[in-house]
Symmetry: none
Subunit: 196 residues, 4 copies
DNA sequence: CATGAATGAGACTTCATTCAT
DNA sequence: TATGAATGAAGTCTCATTCAT
């Protein structure tokens, strides 16, 4: 709450760009410091290790994700609208800051080997939240009952992540229309499927 | 084709286990050699670099995947059966050697920056192959025409990969029934969706 | 001489404990500040460097030692009584504040290369002071004349330091009787030797 | 057992010189490598850490010391001759390779804080060995019985170490006569004392 | 006096790769 | 083929010290 910059934030934001550009394992801590325009040691003043930075980055955003999922679930909306909210949140997250989502998709999943089990659990929480939405929709007869809710949730999340992955790997910019179109297409696909 | 062991194969198989266990970046070449039971100089006799090993591993398997997709596409089958073949192939691949699939999913498919770059094209070929199946099904009116075929292909692949990811990070064994059930569920989900 | 605590003294005392516990090279300035309960910038307000703290600590105590030796030498006492005074002083120093003596013995007296260099002369002054006592005793025929006085002084000091070293590295507490007994034993040993 | 140099030995010998010259904490591993004329990494090929080098150096020599003490104890000699052997061994050790002894006296004792308790124990073994010699001499009435044997051993060892310390700190060379004279003086001092 | 953010040189250690045998 | 000693660049992290407030 001061006029001076929050150096911690500066470092975090720089780290996102660097991780996105070079990858977590391939970048050096000095790259982050350079990108942030701060001295090397300051990174270690705020974070005990390079991994903690990735950690922090992931948690910041994933907690928003979990909150969004919970909000959607609790909202007074049609199941499809609930899924739409989640898909929109993720797509907008990417739209607003592609680097953060790239880092989460590319580096965190990969790091789940080394990362504490904590992250796996937290990731599962997202699936479970979505699964609960599905369950509720099944209970009210809106969704088919012969599908495992957790499986459905993973199908949904997998689909969304694959879309992000596609964007991540394609060099080009994504147009505003594309963003809107895909948001709808995701939910349409998961709800209606390919059959005519 | 001799009585002695094929050391190259030995190294490759050891590498799979090590990459799966420790991750590509986190393991050392000597870990691979140790796992294979050979001197680590020998690794360099067969492979010019650590990365080439991952390279080789990926291509071996991915080419099978591409062949499977092409076979399915060209086969005289209902579109749904074609997708079923592909889903089954991937699930069986995981069932037969989870480590290979783990390495491909975790280290290659998502390695956007360093390694993945090299293989983006080849990975895209899979999506395109699947997309062609969708297109053909749309042409014959079996699948809805208002879905982008490539998007549909990615939805399908994303779903499958998410299932693998789930297995990869869940500690427990997967039962034979589970494998069979999921194979069918994947295709059911992508074709029929959640709506009742 | 104010109501507030003397921060300089606080830091010095904290440094003794930290040096004794972790060693001079192994501890950080912030460890000292933490132990003293002050911000570590304050350490630099009172001392220009980490080394100066050790410096100060050593000199404070060693000057007392030199004064004691000189007092003993000048006193109207039997040579043996003079040595007894010195041995008692050192033993009591340890008894009163083992950490200070530990730091002096471990970090200064034996630090031949880096730190010690600075104080070699002052350390030698102690030996010389003791040597003068021996010389005087030899002049009056109380001590044997066929022993080099400086060698005798070092024998005496080495013996005392070895006793401290023993206490330093033995975990247990030393009893009051032990302190008294050793004080006498030291002088007895140096004066009479092992022969029956 | 080959014509080529033993690099491990080379590194060990270089380390002695570097530790003696710059001190353990003050020198860099690269200094050791440079002194040995080998590549940086080779040091880590043979030793897991810088500390292990010091460790190895200490143990090599200290084990000789322990062997010497045990030999002396078991030998069919007058007690005084036994002590003479030990004093001679230490003095000759210094004479032959002052750096090793400097490192042991200066760095190991100091490191006893950080070093595993193992070294403290091993150091104690030397005192205990000497103490046993004293005990035996007391049993046969050659040495006075009113002195604690372990205390006597420490007095003896402290005296010897102090002599080394003196040499270590004094810049000048020590003459052959000096070495011989001191060897005898040490034992004379410990056996006969200062009283006439 | 007091704080602790900021700096950056430098330490240890790792490890992919080469190469002599 | 096979070995593992040898190389050295590069990375992470530490921490004494400075300085703005």
């Amino acid at each position: 709450m001061s006029a001076t910059v929050d150096k911690r934030r500066l470092i975090l934001d720089a780290a996102v760009r660097v991780f996105a550009r070079q990858g977590f394992h391939t970048c050096r801590v000095s790259d982050i410091a350079d990108e942030a325009g701060v001295a090397y040691g300051l990174v270690y003043h705020y974070f005990p290790s390079k991994e903690t930075i990735l950690d922090t980055l992931f948690l910041e955003r994933w907690n928003l994700m979990l909150a969004t999922i919970e909000d959607a679930r609790a909202a007074d909306l049609a199941p499809r609208e609930k899924l739409q909210r989640i898909a929109s949140f993720i797509v907008e997250s990417y739209r607003h800051d592609p680097d953060v989502m790239k880092v989460i998709v590319v580096e965190v999943t990969r790091a789940a080997n080394t990362f504490g089990r904590t992250h796996v659990e937290r990731i599962m929480q997202a699936y479970e939240g979505i699964a609960r939405i599905v369950e509720q929709a099944q209970a009210t007869g809106v969704f088919r009952r012969d599908v495992d809710a957790l499986f459905a949730a993973q199908a949904f999340y997998g689909l969304v992540e694959q879309v992000l992955t596609q964007w991540i790997f394609s060099a080009g910019e994504v147009s505003a229309e594309e963003f809107e179109r895909i948001k709808l297409a995701i939910v349409e696909m998961i709800c209606v499927g390919l059959d005519g």
